[in-house]
Every structure is written in C-alpha cells, then in structure tokens.
Symmetry: C2
Subunit: 742 residues, 2 copies
C-alpha cells in the first residue's frame, strides 16, 4: 500500500476518558504522564542490561542473532502490508504473521543495538497498518464465528496486537508526535476497540481466545497510557470483574495450574497469560500477579512441562501430537517463570528447548545457564486437579524411571469446552521414548491452506473427538454425552484413588453421566515385579448398566503386530467399514473374532521393544482389529490401528487387561531377547464389594491387585475364589504369591 | 551340558595330511610349526599395543569396557551350551550367538588384560562345544536348504566359526595339549569339515553364505596350522580355484566394489571378506589381498557407505530399511579398511558409527580420532558398476547438497540372485533427511521368532520382490522376467547416460528383456533452477511394445496427502483389492480416476517439507491411489501408499513426471511457507529420434530436457512443436527459456 498524507483529525478523547476508575488501584501506570512515550513493558535498566550483554551469554546472543537475521531479511524485502485475503497458511496470512514478529523483533533490536534503522522500519510498517487498518471490514475469507480483520479469525488479530504492542512500546519515543498519534489511534486503539468493545461477548468470554484479546488490549492500554483499556482487559468490558483477564485466571486454571482445555491449549493459552502478567508485573507490581492464587501461573508453566513425554505434549483433547515443549509459547512461559522464580529446574527445560527470548527473561535464562545454575527437571508422578476449585476431576500422570521411562496418563478431566474430546476415563501409555497406547489428537493440519485453510477438519468432529477414537468405553455405538460438548461441560468425572508408592502406583475414577443409566469405573495401575524387566500396566474397566448394552473398549496400540494371540476372521480381499456414525464410519475392519471368554493376547513391536497386551472380560467378547481411514475422501486422516473388545447384551461388564513391555530387538547387532511375554495369564475374581485381578507370571508366581468398590480407607474387604482368599483394608491392595496361591 | 571325562582318542591325521600342497605358496603360515599355539590372527606386538593403550583412546576403551561388561555377564551366568532347538530369535539360537561373541570377546580380553579367567572361560565353553558338537545331526528346526548343526541354517554355523576361531586363536596357547587337541578336533576341525567337505556344493557356491563358510574354514586353517584348510578356503574344495574365497572376490564384486546382491547384502557379506582378508594379510602378506583387483575390498567398504542416506543403507533388493552403516559389519569393514589405508575420511564414518572394534584395527581408528586425523566422508554422485567386469549394469547415485541433501538412486543392476527384486529401472528419491520415494525392502522381521522364525516371510515373494512393489513399469500385471529370478540372472540392464554436471545430473538405462516384446528406457535427471528452492527430479519412462498392453507405473510416496490434484472415485465404505497375483493381491484401492490425458498432480507433506509430483503420459491414463496390506492375515506387511499410473491398450507408452520438493511446515513456530508448487505444468513433445520434456514454472519460464533415442555423443537432434524448436547434439540437452518459448 502507498501511504497518502494523513489529514484526518482523530478524536481520541472518548477512549481515554475515565483516567482513574474507582476500582483501579493507584499504581505506577495510573500516574504516568500521557505524553511520556518511553518504554513501559520493559524497564530502561533491563534494556540496558540486554544491550550490554554482548556475547557473554550464548543462548541470548544466539537468539539476538536469529532475530536480527529475521528482521534484516524483512527489511531487505521491504515493508509489505497486504490487503487480507487468505486463510491460515496463505500468503497474506503468513505475511501478517511475519509482520508482527518483525515488529516485536525490530523494537527489541532498536533498544539493544541502538540502531535507528530498526525503529524506522517498525514505524514505516506501522504507518502502513495505520493506513490499511481503518479501511478493513470483516476478513473476506473469515469463517470463524468471530472473524478478524487482518486474519480469518479474530484470535490471530489478538496475537498480532500482543506482539506488535511490544515492538511499538520499544520505538514509540522515537516517533514524531504526529506519527505517534496516527499509529496510536489508527492501529492500536482501533484494534483494541475492535477486539473488545465491538466484540464484547467475544472479549468477555472465559476462553483462551479472549485471553489473547485481553492481553493485547491490556498491553495496548499500558503502552498508550490508557488505564481504561487496562482495566477493561483486567475486569471485562463492563469493568465489573465478571469477565476479563483476572476472571480468566480464576476460571481457566485449576489450583494446580491445569488449564480446562488440556495441556495442548494450556501451552497455547500460556503465552498471553504470562506475557500480559509480565506487563502487569512491570507496570503494577503491587498487584503481585505472579503470586496470585498461590502462584497459579507459575504452576501452569510447570504443569504443561510435566504433561509432556520426550519433549512432546500429551495430546489429549484437540491437539497436534507433534507439538512439543520447545514451542514458542513454552519457551516464553519458561523464560518468564524463571525470571520470576529463579527455579533452576526450568533451566534444564530451556536447555532442551535450545533457545530463549530476546527479553529480560531470556537474558536471565541465558545467564543462569552460563553460571551453571541448571538442575534437572523432576518429571514425577502427580495429579493435576481440574476446575477452578480443583474439584472437577484430574489429569493423572504416573511415572516410573524418569523422563524416558514409563508414563501412564489417565484422563479424568472436565470436558474442556469445544476443544474437549469425549474421552472420560481414557488412558495413554508411554515407554522407551515412545507413545505406545496413543491418542489421535486433533484432525488438523495447522496452517496448511489446502487442508481447510489450516483450521480444524470436518474429521475432527466426525472422528477425532468421538469416544471410539479413544481408549475408553463406548456404549451402544454412541459417544459420551451424546457427542454434545455442552452437555459434557455440565458433568465432571470423580477421582477415587490416587496413590504413588514404591512398586505400585494407582489411580481410579468414576463417571455416571457419560451415558444414561451406566456407571463406569476405571482402575489403572503401574506395577513393578522382580520377575519383569519393566513395570506393567493393569487396567480394570467396569460398567454397571441399567439395561443390556453393546460395550466397545478400544485400544489404540502403536507398533507392528507380531502375534495375534486369538483366532479371527480376516477381511482379506474386501475391507468393510465398522459403522456409520460416531466415528465408527472411519474404521476399516481387518479382523473379527467370535465371542469368547478365554484370555486373549496381542503382541506388537515398537522401536526395538515388544509389548504384549493380555485381556479378558466378565462375559463373552469379540476382539476386532480395525484401522482408521474409511470414509476419508480427502486423505485427512492418519491411518492408525486399534484393537476393539466388544461385549454385547450385558448390563454389567468388567474388562481387565495387562500391558507388558518386554524384550529387545536390536537391528544394529541383529539380536533379539525376551520376545516372549513373561506373563502367562490374567484372570479376575468378583467378590461382594470388591474385585481382584490376578496376573500369573511365567514362573508361576502371581501378582494380584484387589480393588474395592468403596475406596474409603478404613473398610475391610474379602474376596474368595478357587480356594484362595484375598483380604485387605482400604481401597486397594497388592498380593504377591508364589505358585499355587501360596 | 555336563562334561564327562574325555576318553575317546581322536584320529586327526587325515585332516592334517597334505601339509604343503603344490599350489600353495611358500608362506609364513606354511612353515609355522604345528606345535606352536601362539596367536596367528593378531600379532604379538598388536596385542601388546592394545594392552598398553589404557584409556588414551576413548573409542577403544569404550569398546573394551562394553565387551568386558558383556563377557563378565556371560561368565557370571555360567557356560551355557544348549542342545540346538530354536529358529532365529529363539532361546537356543540367541544363546549360541551370544556364545560366539563371548568367545571372541574373552579371547581378546585375555590378551589385553592378561587375566587368566577369560582364557579359562573360553576354554570351558569350547570344551562343552567339543562334547556337544560331535553328537549333533541336522538342526531339528532347520528349514534352510542347507541346515546348520548349531543353528537352523548353516550360514549361522559359519558365522559362529568366524568369531569363535578368533577367540580360540587368542587362548590356544593357554591350553593343555589334551584340551587343545579335544577342541581342535571336536569343534573346529569337525565344524570346518561339516561346512566344506560335507557340504561341498554349498561351500563352493559363489554366494555370501559360502563366503562366511570359506572365512570360517580358512581362519580355522590358520589357527590349526593346517594349510590344506586354508587352501580349501581360498580355492575351493577341489583346490582348483574354480570356487573359494578368491573366486568369490572375483565374481561377487564389480571393479567398483559393488556386490551383486546389492548394498544391504554387501554390508552383510563385507564382514567375512574383510575379516578373512585381514587374517590372510596377517599370515600371508605376500598375497597382497587388500590390493587384489585394484583394491576391490576397500572399494566395497567405501561403496556401501556411499550407498547410504542419513546413515541408512539404500534398501534395494531384500533389505531391512532400518539397517544402517552403524551395523557391526560396517563397523568391522571401516576399521579394517582404515587400518590398511589410513584414509582419514573413514574416521568420520567411524565417528558416526560411534564405536569400533576391540582389535588392532579398532585401536587404529581410536588413535586416528584422538590425533585429529578425521576428515569428512565425501558423499558424492557416482555410479557403481555391477558385474565382475563392470559391464552388467550399474547402481546410480545422484547427489546434490551433500549427505542430507538430495539423493536420486537409479537401479540398473543385475538381478542379484535370490535376494534380487524384479525392479530394473527402479528409482528412489531422498531429501531433507528422509526417504521420499521409497523401496519397501524385504518382508522380514529379522530374528523375531514369531514371524516365521525370523526368516523371510511368504510376503517377501508374494509382495516385496514383485515389480508392482517398486517404482518401475509393470506390463500386463506381471513382474519382470515372469517373476523368476533365475531368468533375471541371465539378462542385464544397459546403462545409457551417466553425466554429472553443475545444475544437471542425468542417468538413463534400457532393458529389452524384462518383458517379452517390450523395450523400456528410463531417463532420470536431478536439475537445479534459480526459481526453485531445491533441485527437482525429472522422470521419463518409455516403453516400446510389440502389442497393446496394460502398463502400470507405481510411485511409492512417503508422506500425508495434502492435495489430490485430480478427480477420482474413492472407495469410502468398502475397500477392494487391486488384483490377485504378482503383488497386486496385496494392494487395497483407495481411489481411481477415469482415463485422462491432462497433467495431474499429487502433493504430500513429509517432515515439514511439501512434495508435488506432476505427471502426464502419451495416452490416456488412470491414476490410482492404493495401499499395501490386503491379503495379509498375519499382519506381516507395512501399510504404505502408492500412486499407480495405468495406461491400457497402447503398445508404446511414454510416462513423464517431475517431482518438486518445496516449502516448509514448521510445527514449532507454527509457520507455513511455500506450500504451493512453483511449477505450473509439465508437457512432452516427441520428435523423430528424440523426446523433449518441458517443465513450465510459475513465472512462465520453461526448463526443458531433450533426450535422444540414440545417446551417442556426435549426433544432432531436432524436435519441433507448437512453433518451438529444440536442437542439440549428443544424448541430451537442457533448454532454459523465458515465457512464451523465448
């Protein structure tokens, strides 16, 4: 765009009107003179520190060099502020993304290097935006419920504002009064108005999109010395605290820092929370924002790292499985959290990320590393309670053997709004650096324009969110809550057991509302035994129904099938589809057994380790081997296999299983060891008020897990069968016996 | 086994009879007294060097520690020499494998540490073998054409002998005369006899199994001071040079060091060649074995490294795609080659391998690294000519951008005996660290007992070797040579072009015998263009047939389909199988287009890079999208997708295509660039004696490749079409024009 002479006079008074609101605390920003244009998001000393850092802190200087290369390239290419046209991944979309990064980068580089050309470049670009932005209506390709102006969804406009406001803050005192007014009004104030007043219901939601909006608007408020904007960001458009950033912190995070939409969106949401919190801390330290709710924002940073395996975030709910803790948002979160806490464990996360920010926080990280402060991050077993009060379920992480050992995840969280999956009581298993029992994640190719503009695909609804796409019980071929997330929002899962002890870790939970008339309880345990090289996972899923039903229990296993330990009819020359709705329409059937009561097994090989899954049930079941990919004309799905255990015509059902990692396949040395399971059988005994799962090892020894229906601590339970007795007090007990029940 | 008192007197005279054969050269070993039992495979000085190395050379001391841990564990477990019972991967199989490694390790450790317990352990184990071995007949689970005694196939017995003879050599002078005689006769001489005299046709084959046998027998000959055994190994059971090790070197390697069965078996075969050659060099340096045939054994080591990408061996013919240059055989080959040549490029290969041998050669490697001799290995474009005289085709490797850049492989080699695939004129493409256009390799799970005892699966014949499993032309739904490898052995491929120049690399070849009445020529080129970020691959496959035929040209592409650039009917709810023989029975059909003459395209995404394949043909073709996995009741196949271009009813066919890597998908930064192809179209013009493939870029510029039917250098060619003229002299030419043919 060409830049004509700006002749309009802009009335800015109304937006600046309430200089001091009754409820806003008297604070630094409130008394800062409006004609002072020096930086407010980073202190003058901090900019000086960064300027003087030189090359003493490699991670910082590498980031500086990276940003410099990026900004220099953008400057060589020249200012390019195109009229918005494209969806995610398209040329104008990517250009506006590059622009906000270039703005933030140029601002920082101007402060750090003192080179005026960076400030001028940012100014020239912002003046182009000042010309373009007022001409824009809704984005032409907008399909989101709230369209943006620069981007197809308002979310990206908010992100633009969060980054551009930082760049603008850094160069604002270099501008002529006229340029400053032009940019203030035509870019920042207009954009803030669009994202808040003009879209108040959107801005006032308790949702991560609104967090980006509040962050952008609030930071704009600091930069423009506009306390009304800041207060609007903090307390909502009505300035009553029923919406806005503080309310989002209250509602979106549990006391453990768990974010209602799950770890993947926690990563995404984290950035505006910590970036805006940092701006608040800088301008209004008296708010103690990082100590707010017992330091919940810092807990949120740690929590998302805990909910990762081998650097990848556990992909429950809508999530791209390839997204890792090295993502920009977590780099941001770790740096800002470290600068606030000096927690040396965060340095090892930064080390793994391999980069940090061009900011005071990044400098702190780089310094901490040079000074040898680093300590290992302690990946450990924990539960992340969900819900604002921590009473809306939990995400359970059972670990053994540290970062690359075993991780058993149990998902007992809330629905997680529109990005939630219908997967209560789902479980995942990681071992040997790999996802072994997996989550499909989301059906989406982020920013790949040819794939629905980079947005969520239809298959996200028709497949990825459906219950059958997860390792949890499907009743009568329907998804939980009838596949309606708003219904799901109304019901929580109830955690029962969570115990971490040497050699045995256990978690359990119940939900009675996922399916009408069906109460479901699942018990998952990670257990060590001297006979076994690795811990095993025991899984007991019980359903108590009011009427006979069709129960399907899928298992998404990852690896090449080595032994199918049961008879089945195979679809060899024509592959049928399993169903016609609720995700079943996407499953090809490869094999199906007759109903049977015998214990069955399936062994697969993944990355040099064998896994044997041994399973039985309380009534005859079929075993089906299926694969995703049916009804997929656009090749939008990954093709991944599953085992489905199917029991038909029972009201009550008990599915029990053990997953055993074993052996080694070394393709380099061409050796194979332990390819045979060390477990002989798994059985289950039902008592009056408890259930016992008995694993018989190859040696004849048995390992039994007793679990009471009522898990309260003081009660005693006795189960007798086949001349054996299991007796214990409390929710569960482990029994180790030699052969023959001795 | 328990070891009873040995009371039998063993008549050893017959085996030792011809002490000096007329044809054996007078050499060191020939005059060594038979009662000297000191080591002959490694010199006393070399053992001393290793003993004195201490910890000065980390790679050597790490290997010493690794072997020590392994042998110490074996010693703690105690001698275990079980009666053979199992197939590959089974307990007795793996135990006998562990034993030969422990023998070699214990021998070396005895010499290096001076600790007698190592020698005693090796002795005790060998005495057990001396007791067991004479009692053995054919292996009970043997299914190979030549069964072993310790293992299911004689091959593994030979490998046992190669390693055990090294361990025995190191400790033989610690034995009592009686123990020595017992082991000499009941283990080594018996085993050598079994592998040679008693299986003479096997021993005298020109085949890698026989190489292991000759190496084992020959090394046994040196250790037992038995020149007849040595000569038998070198010149065959008839001692006439028509068989044996020297003949194997002559016949199995081309002058460029290419091994007839392909790189995967070259890796495997390498070990006995270089290990035995080293023993020959040690005992009969006057043979100049490493200089033999212009240093062909050293060339073979380099060749297998050249035929790798990102550390993995190009998996043409029967091959496990996960097998890398860090395999034990190549560690052995690189160490021995380095010790002979001091070629510093080999040190960087060793560095990548991350380990070396506990041998004088390994010490040389470790020393070279400590002394900073290392130089990068120069991965470069080359042809490896096939056949003893180098006139039986070639394996073409066209590279751009070094080790992780582009690699285009063209397979114009011989059949490669029973492990050869029916894939003449096949091509593969690597880019960005990944296999993009792939080879299935072999259908086998090496040493996984549950998968056909770890041997080749039935699907290796029914799928992996068939032509349709490769990126080359299938005629009338049959594999090349009617799927009979013995027929394939009789016919070679004729290389036509091989030129490597800046910006354009080209190879072509012809075969007239793969299908009766059909002459096939393929031209492949790797071309750079200033408009394009990466080199593109141009592919022109021509068939001149004597009768109308059904032509299928498969493309095994690796990645997620992003855009299917053509209309097709999709198999959405029932997936049919493509055919009933020659590999087609294993292909599920996902989509099929109508016949059309328009240019089509397919775009996929792999590891953050997009690939657009744009293709046309001289007559209407269908495009099919298929996936392997049909008729696979045991889940023995990997499920991998392919595009098949199908032309029916033509005698002559020309298939042309361009593969374009482009753009970047960065999931960490959530950015996408260049997801749209920079190529607009591909067309083809046929002249009287030449063909021109024209690629039109998005800019309107064109890039054309003219290829003459007769590639001889001096001839001129002219092709005219649509008002344009392409004129050149020689086999091929490149034409760069601005838009509109200017």
């Amino acid at each position: 765009m060409k830049r004509p002479l700006l002749t309009l006079l802009i009335a800015a008074s109304c937006a600046q009107a309430p200089l001091l609101l009754a409820s806003a605390p008297a604070s630094a920003q409130a008394v800062r003179p409006v004609d002072d244009a020096s930086p407010v998001l980073v202190s003058a000393e901090a900019w000086r520190d960064m300027a003087e850092a030189g090359d003493r802190y490699p991670m910082f200087s590498e980031e500086r060099a990276r940003i410099q290369a990026e900004v220099d390239a953008a400057m060589r290419a020249g200012v390019d502020v195109p009229v918005p046209r494209d969806l995610g991944g398209g040329a104008t979309h990517e250009q506006h993304k590059r622009n906000y990064k270039a703005l933030a980068g140029a601002g920082a580089l101007y402060r750090i290097t003192g080179e005026r050309r960076y400030a001028d470049f940012a100014r020239d670009m912002l003046l182009e935006y000042a010309e373009l932005y007022p001409t824009l209506g809704a984005h032409p390709a907008g399909r989101s419920s709230v369209k943006g102006r620069l981007f197809w969804q308002a979310l990206n406009d908010s992100v633009w504002l969060v980054y551009a406001s930082q760049g603008y803050d850094a160069i604002r005192d270099t501008l002529s009064a006229e340029d400053r007014r032009t940019i203030d009004e035509n870019v920042f104030r207009r954009m803030a108005r669009f994202l808040s007043e003009e879209n108040a219901p959107y801005f006032d939601r308790i949702h991560n999109h609104a967090t980006w909006a509040t962050a952008g608007v609030g930071m704009t408020g600091y930069v423009l010395r506009d306390p009304e904007l800041v207060d609007r960001a903090l307390r909502g458009t009505a300035h009553d605290g029923k919406a806005g950033f503080m309310r989002q912190i209250d509602e979106l995070f549990s006391p453990d820092g768990y974010y209602a939409e799950g770890p993947y969106y926690q990563r995404y949401a984290l950035a505006p929370f910590v970036i805006f919190a940092r701006a608040i801390q800088q301008n209004e330290p008296e708010r103690g924002i990082f100590a707010y709710r017992d330091g919940v924002l810092i807990k949120a940073v740690e929590g998302v790292v805990q909910a990762s395996y081998e650097g990848l975030i556990v992909p429950v709910n809508d999530a791209l499985p390839e997204k890792g803790i090295d993502s920009e948002e977590i780099v941001t979160g770790v740096a800002i959290a470290y600068a606030q806490t000096n927690d040396p464990r965060l340095l090892s996360v930064a080390q793994r990320q391999g980069r940090t920010l061009l900011s005071p926080d990044g400098l702190a990280i780089a310094r901490g590393l040079v000074e040898g402060q680093v300590q290992p991050f302690d990946f450990r077993s924990m539960q992340l309670r969900d819900g604002p009060s921590g009473d809306s379920g939990n995400l359970v992480l059972l670990r053994q053997g540290g970062e690359t050992g075993q991780l058993l995840v149990m998902k007992n969280t809330q629905q997680g709004q529109g990005h939630g999956h219908f997967d209560r009581l789902n479980w995942l298993f990681y071992d040997n650096g790999n996802a072994v029992i997996t989550d499909y994640g989301a059906a989406r190719f982020l920013n790949v324009e040819a794939k629905n503009g980079g947005g969520y695909l239809d298959e996200n609804d028709s497949w990825a969110q459906q219950t059958v796409a997860h390792n949890t019980l499907v009743v009568n071929g329907q998804s939980q809550f009838g596949g309606d997330w708003r219904v799901g929002e109304e019901h929580t899962t109830t955690p029962l057991l969570f115990q971490v002890a040497d050699g045995l870790q256990i978690a359990s939970a119940r939900i009675d509302t996922a399916y009408a008339g069906v109460s479901m309880v699942r018990i998952l345990a990670l257990i060590e035994h001297p006979d076994l090289a690795y811990p095993i996972a025991i899984d007991l899923m019980r359903a108590d129904g009011s009427a006979p039903a069709l129960y399907d229990l899928p298992l998404r296993f990852n690896g090449q099938i080595i032994t199918q330990g049961f008879e089945a009819r195979h679809a060899l020359t024509e592959r049928p589809v399993l169903g016609d709705r609720a995700g079943y329409q996407h499953l090809w059937v490869d094999a199906q057994s007759d109903p049977g009561v015998e214990t069955r097994s399936l062994t697969w090989l993944l990355d040099g380790r064998f896994y044997t899954y041994r399973f039985g049930a309380s009534a005859p079941t079929r075993a089906l081997l299926v694969e995703s990919g049916a009804n997929d004309p656009n090749f939008n799905l990954r093709r991944e296999q599953m085992l489905i255990r199917r029991m038909d015509g029972q009201a009550d059902a008990s599915f029990y299983a053990v997953l055993e990692p074993h052996g080694a396949y070394d393709s380099r040395a061409e050796t194979v060891t332990g390819s045979t399971s060390r477990i002989r059988d798994i059985t289950r005994v039902r008592g009056d008020d408890a259930e016992v799962v008995i694993v018989t090892l190859a040696s004849g020894k048995t390992l039994a897990l007793g679990v009471a229906d009522d898990v309260s601590p003081g009660r005693s339970h006795t189960v007798r069968a086949d001349g054996q007795t299991w007796q214990w007090t409390g929710g569960y007990a482990r029994f180790d016996r030699d052969g023959d029940g001795k």
